[in-house]
Every structure is written in C-alpha cells, then in structure tokens.
Symmetry: C3
Subunit: 364 residues, 3 copies
C-alpha cells in the first residue's frame, strides 16, 4: 500500500471511446467442475469460446466458429481430443490447428481457429484474452481460500445483465447492505461506520471496523457467543475484476482490531466478475469460512443464504444497467461511499489505456 | 370557431425532424384511483416518472432515476412522504430535493431529481412535461363529464403500441366504425352521411348528423323507443391529445338537430391519449351518459362493451404502426374523411413549432 | 454445359453493397393448395404481399398496404374478387386499382396498390418481383416432377431464419450429409467420393457417383434387393434459387453410370428457396420418386423422413446466420467441396449485377 485518499470528488463517466475491459488479464470462464470431456460454449469478453477438458485433464479453449463457414464448433462433437465441426466435418486439435477436411487430402496450411491460454487455479478455469506472449500464470488473482484446507465453502455462478463494473461498484461499497439487504444482513451500523480506502498499482482496499456493536442476527449465529462484538469488512480489489472480502466478528476486547482474531469467526466472500459482453457478465462467487469447517450443513446454508442475498443485488444492478442504456449522456455523481469503486475503476482504466499506446501517451 | 375548411388535400407527412409531441401541455398520467400512498412508475413523453400520493393527498411526480447512480427510485420505498432509493438509501422529498445521503453529514447542494407540476382534475392525474413556469392549471383539457353528477360513466386505460396521433386519426373520423366495428356499432349510414369540419386555435370539430334513420341496435336499445331517429356524432378535439365525442339519438321530429335533445339519449366518449414514447401511448377513455344514471348495470355494460370495441381498434392501430415502421419513406394519402385528423395534426404541429423558436421563424 | 472448373479457390465474400437477390425472377410464394378464396399474407423478397384466388381460380398478388393509411389489406376481407381494407373500407380489384372510397363519389385516379405478375406451375404459386414487362412464364424453374404422373411425391414449407443462399450452399454440397445427418442418411462414402462441377449461363451441376458400394440403410430399403450398388447424386442448380437433386441407386453392373437406370430406384429432391427478407427465407421442398408410385404409405414415410432430416439442417443454418451476424467483417474460406456453391453464388451475382447498369459496366 503506497497511498491513501479518502474521497475522490467529481463525476465518474464511463468514457464511451474507451473499451470496457482490458484484454491482457486472466478471466474466470467457468468453475473447474463445469468443464468436462465435452464441448462447453460460453462468451467471454465478447468472444464466443468453446472449452473442453482433454483426456489428460488439461482444458482447451478455442474460438467457437469454424474457419470454413463460421458454424459454432460447439454444435459439433469431440473425437478423442479433437473437435469435429457438425456441418462439414473439419477437425481441429486442442491448439486450434485443422487436422482434417472432407473430400481432400491436403489441408490449407492457414486453416485454424484461435486458441486461448488456459490456467486452472483456485477452482476456476482462467482464460487470457489478449496477447498470449504476456499470459503469465503468476498473474492469476488470489482466490486461494477456495481450495485451502483450512477453509471450507462453496459458491455459484450468476449471469447478470449489466456491465461487470456495476457489480464491482456494488461490492466496493457495502453500505448498500443496509438498503438492498435490509431484510437479511443489512444493518444501520454499516452505513454509519467510517471507512478508509487505500490502493496500490493493481489493488484497492476499503477497510471498515464497527467496534463494540450488537452483532446482526447472521453474525451472532455464526459466532455462537453472547455479547457485543467488533465487526470488520475489508474489501480487497485486484484489477481488473476480482474482489475478496474479508468479513467477520470477534467479541469486543479480544483484540481483533489489533490483529488477534483467534476468538472470532472469519469468512471470505470471493468474487470474480467476467465480462460476457459490454453489458452482461458472468459473476462467480463463493463464501469460505475458517470455523466449523467440517460441517457440510453450514456450507450448504451459507451458499443458499448468499444466493438469496445476491439475487436482491441482481434486480438492482439490471435496473441500473437499463437506466444507463436509456440515458446515454448521463453521468454518475459520486458521494463519499464511492471512493473504493472510483479507485477500482481508475485501476481498470489504467490497464485498458496501457493496451492502447496512443492513449497511454496522451495520459502521460 | 373562426373558420371552416372541408377537405384539405395533399399528402400528410410526419416530419421526421419535428418532435412527435409538444412538452408544454398537460398530459394525463393516470386515473386518480391508480395513484396511492405507494410508488407508481410510468413513462410519460419518453421520461421515466415515479408518482405517489403524499399523506396530505397531494400527488408528487419525480424523475424515476436516483441522482447518484440512476437506479429507478420506484424500486425503493416511501418513508413518510419521502422516497428512499433502494440501492444506497439516498432520500428525496416530494419536490425532488435530496434530504439524506449514507455515511456523510453534509449533502451535496446539487443533489436532486426533477419534479413535475401535477394537477388532479376530471378524475385524472395530469403532468406538465415542459417549462414549469408555464404550467397553468386552467389549460387542463375539459373532460368534466367524468365527475359531473348529471352524468354517469366509467372507463379504462389501454396501452397501445402506436404513435398517439394514430389514435387521434382514428377518433377524428368515425367512418371507420363501419369497417372496423361492423359487427357491433358500425353501420353504412355513418360512412355515407355528410359532415363538416370547423376549427379554432386549439380545437377542431367534426360534426355529422344522420337524419331520419333506423337506429343501429346499440342506440335503439339505449333509447328504448321504437321508430326512426336523428343521430349525431360531434367530435371535439382539444390539442394536443384530448377528444370528447358527443354522441346520441333522438326520435325524428323532436328537434334534436335544432338543439332540443330532451327526447333523446346522449353520451360522451371521453379520450385522452398520452405519448409514452414516440411509438407507444397510454390511452385513457371513459363513456359517460345523461340517462338512467343511477343504473350501475348500464355503466358496467357500456364500459365492457366499449372495451371490446376499442380492442378492435387496437389491432388495426398496432398493425398500422408496424407498417409505418417498415416503410420509413412512405407518405399518407388523404381523402375527404381525413379533414378532421388533418386539422388535429396541424394544431399539434403548431404547438410543437411554438416550442422551437427557429422553426417558428421559418414557418412565418 | 459449356465449361468445367473443379475447384475455384479464394475467399467468398457476400458483398455488403450488392443486394442479396435479383428481382427479375420468378419466386415460389406458396404451394398451390395454400392459396384459396381468402386473404393470405406473406413477405417475399422484403415486400409484404397479400394473395388470394379469384372466383375464376386465378391467383392475385397485391402489395399488402392500403394506399390511404398503410394498414395491411390482409387484415380486411374479400368482397367477391375485391379486397376491402379493414380500416376505412377502401376497395381494390385484383389489379390493385381502387374501386371504392368511403364518403365520396369520385376516386383519386392515383389510388392503387402494386400488383405482381403471378404464374401457377409445378404446384407452386410464382411471383415476379421485378419489372413486370420482363415476366416471361417460360422462365419459371423446372420442377415438373411435382406434377408428372410418372412420379409420386409430396413436400412441405419450412421457414428458416437465414439468408436463402446458406440453404443453397448446403444443398450444393452433400458431404454435409455425413456430418449433419450421420444418424440417418449420412455415410462416409459421400464425403470420400470424387465429384465434378459443370455450369452454363443459368445452371450449375455437381455430379457424384459412388460405385460398387454397400448401400446405406435408406437406399437398401428403397431398392429392395441385396448386394452392392452404384449410387448417384446429381445436383442441378437453376439460378437464382432452385435446386433439383437427382438421387438413386442401382445394382452394380446393371449400367446406371452409363445411362441405364432401369434396374435401380430414382428420386428427385426438389428445392426452391425464396428470400423472405435478407436473412430469412421460405424453403419449399418435395421428394418425388419413380417407383412404387401408387403406394401412399411410401409417400408419407418419405415426406416425414425428409422433414426430420431437414430439421437437422435448419439448426445448423440458423446458427450459421447468427455467427455471420455476429462477425460482420468475416469472410468464408473455401475448400474443394464448395465449388458447386461458388458457382451458384456467381450466377446469382451476375443476375443481380445485370439489374444494376453501373455495376454491369464496371464488371465488363
């Protein structure tokens, strides 16, 4: 962390001339279990992709359009580890090279479809949508709680009809819990608590401590002890689209704000939101916890509880996207609570501009 | 009435550069009973509006988009007489001024949403969509029959997927009854009867008398007397979009054409058609009568009868709109029966041009 | 046949500045039995048409939009052999001339709707969409098998959401049978057999003989004799959009390749594909045979069998159209099997260019 700024002011415009997402980034395309030895089609960053798991377990991701006549390869079938087009039988290997054409011996050497770098990590299949030479697996965002044996949890995928950045805005400011989720996890204390925003080159963090409060019903139940608590929400953004939220409570006076969380309970809300198109996204989330990790019943309850809460957000986010579409010239006004979202968007814009040489120059 | 012209000739083009409706006018947005102490969303003249009735009974109408992030306020809730946004809890009073922001003490002085002048009259909620300084309640169109104790009646709201002016065209020429409504109120005598068209600055009137005819079944039933009748249809247009049609029959020879309707029965078909968008509209109608006004059974029968008849128009009007959309360059040809519609459109165009100074000049 | 070229190379672009179909051609608009003494609406080559059979049996085809206010005439009714508009009662005769207007004695002499030349032939109603002076009935494509007493068969109409030329591409290369129809008529032998392509000014032909092969189950059943066969597929294209495919098998050694098909069985797959819009079409097909022509059971089985097979094509073709729409700049790459389709498209383009004088010049 190298700097701090609490309340950036002014209006936030999504510049219509700037792409809405960078390409040189790893994007979660699916949960690991979703991709089997069969063709699986999904649009990622405006590109139609067909994925499948090869016999050796490695996942392949190809452009979902036959070189010959554009028919989606996902309408075809797998023959071993090759994809056979369902129209004229052109076959492609997992690197996208055409290996068979009907009624001819020789194959046009240019015949291929684009293949995308793939990494499987933290229970997701990640695709690199930009320059393959830059596809460094070390850049996959940190969501290790998803497979850490000291944490237990599970999650789901939501398809949301909005710009992925609206989901980020939503997660970077949790005061909305009070209003959107008033009937479940919301609580006046969140909207009233002070917070700070910090950032680095690729990350932004919003930290909020609510000290010596009566815990909301959800956390009281998780803690299983009576009395007041210190509650924390630490929102960790990693550009362009991953947010791990460190949440929990500990009995007041047991030292959580100073770093000793041993008497409390701790969860992580893991979120990575992948653009499907400019105005739709795939939202992959999970909730992991470090207590009673052997109790599958709690994993189930938490997953289903979060499902219901996120559905409340989905309704608001899709209405917001429709309002943006209906008001093309309108700006967003910002208030104090937006500082985290503003930093997230700034870091995304820097990644995008870094891919556009002339823009980079202009910004310098 | 200051002039008369029976058959304006030529082609009627909806000028694609001219807006399709004036803004400086009262538009019916809802029936009085539709607006309660809860949030009610409707699009009027391309603007998304949220309406509600305050505790003191006065109706408020605000822009349905939060100043902060554009989320529709209608997704939020009322807190007393204030609207609270369902996303981050910004609150607005009934004038649209922001009165609360989350996590901060001071409120940005520019934080507000647009509010619209409202008048409740003749059983409708009327909104003024243009310059509030010009919103004179005396300009609300005359539909007093809707609440006059000497008249009884009721009506409904229809959402029609067509330019509101196509509904006006339809009502300004009742010869279509013969063809569209041949199985109900239509009758050759309407298409064959002569008519005259008169107009003033803001009104146009089409008058048709069918003398000494056998009444169609509907009117024979309403009159309840045997024998021939004099039948009238007097279509009163008030710009930009209200039409009160004076209809009835009286036994031939009892003096109705000369002004004595005492032996006849009289109804008013009240219509006010509010643009929702350029190609959809809210059509508010009622049928009021001055005979057997205590019989609720007749009110019910007439309302349901008219509902069925207007549904026949709806099918034609929506097909006409689709044909217009599919033939962007095509003109309408006019025949004698179109003189009333032509005057209505001319008066609307004058109102629109009066709001566009440069156009007004060009026309002079 | 005046020339031969086996494998035209390169990329096939549908030029976005060239119309997608010629107008000076006969297009099948309906099966003969579909058009009765009632109004029948269909869009042909982007034009909305209303058809009906007059009392004397002759079919009329008019523009489906009233001269007065554009309302579709197909929403009206027939009065004898005249069409009466369902809105204001304007009447038109079968040549499109207005014969009645409401509330006036004289009729505007320009009042008419466009009428289209019609020919009824080979069980279809054919419309000429271009210059009526060029509408020579001798130019109707040859589909005589449909009513030849030595052939029996039947067919259906499919509405496909794709450019009609994608259906032509599909039919001009039957190797797709192997991949799209692998579970029914497909067979490796088709994709592996050599073929030749020939053409003339208005026709292109792809001929494929598979000699001394084990017949696929369908043809073994039709032939009803054991043993190997010579199988043929001769695809006859007639510009712009008719394809008659001569198919069959005969026992090996009985002389079919040399011209004696007397020991075999022969069918014709008749196809004529009419543009509805630039990206949708009406596909009229039939299957006729010259054996066991009195057995209605076989006619029924073949018609239903082909229905299922063509549904497999429909899925691929509509996916292909969606992929084309989503990739506006993309070209089609061509391989050997595409030579027939390339010739079909070249002949269509020549017809289109012949209707555009400046383009014709440029091409010469």
């Amino acid at each position: 962390m190298i700097a701090r700024q609490d309340h950036p002011a002014g209006q936030m415009l999504a510049d219509p001339n700037r792409p809405s997402f960078p390409l040189n980034a790893w994007y979660a395309a699916a949960w690991d279990v979703d991709v089997k030895h069969e063709l699986f089609a999904r649009t990622i960053c405006n590109k139609k992709i067909v994925m499948y798991r090869r016999s050796d377990g490695v996942v392949a991701a190809l452009e979902d359009a036959c070189w010959h006549r554009l028919v989606p390869l996902s309408l075809g079938r797998l023959d071993g580890d090759e994809v056979v087009c369902g129209y004229h039988g052109l076959a492609y290997n997992s690197q996208g090279r055409c290996t068979h054409m009907p009624s001819q011996e020789t194959i046009n050497p240019s015949a291929c479809v684009r293949s995308y770098p793939v990494v499987e990590k933290h229970r997701y299949i990640w695709l690199w949508m930009g320059d393959p030479a830059l596809a460094d697996p070390a850049l996959v965002p940190d969501l290790h709680w998803n497979h850490d044996p000291e944490w237990a949890g599970d999650g789901k995928t939501i398809h949301v009809k909005c710009d992925y950045r609206l989901v980020l805005d939503n997660l970077m400011d949790l005061t909305h819990e009070t209003f959107v989720h008033g009937s479940s996890i919301g609580d006046r204390s969140v909207a009233e608590a002070p917070f700070q925003t910090t950032f680095s080159d690729r990350t932004a963090t919003v930290t909020r401590w609510m000290r010596d409060i009566t815990p909301p019903p959800f956390w009281a139940g998780q803690l299983g002890k009576p009395g007041k608590v210190d509650r924390w929400q630490i929102i960790n953004f990693e550009a362009p689209c991953t947010i791990a939220i460190d949440v929990g409570v500990a009995p007041t006076g047991t030292g959580a704000p100073e770093g000793d969380r041993s008497q409390g309970v701790n969860g992580f809300v893991l979120n990575t939101i992948t653009p499907e198109t400019d105005t739709t996204c795939h939202y992959f989330w999970a909730f992991c916890r470090n207590y009673r990790i052997g109790e599958q019943r709690i994993t189930h309850q938490l997953r289903e509880g979060v499902t219901g809460i996120f559905h409340e957000d989905e309704i608001v986010l899709e209405a917001q996207q429709r309002a943006i579409d209906a008001n093309p010239g309108r700006v967003f006004y910002n208030i104090n609570i937006d500082s985290g979202a503003l930093w997230a968007r700034r870091l995304i814009d820097r990644m995008i501009d870094a891919e556009r040489p002339q823009q980079k120059q202009a910004a310098e």
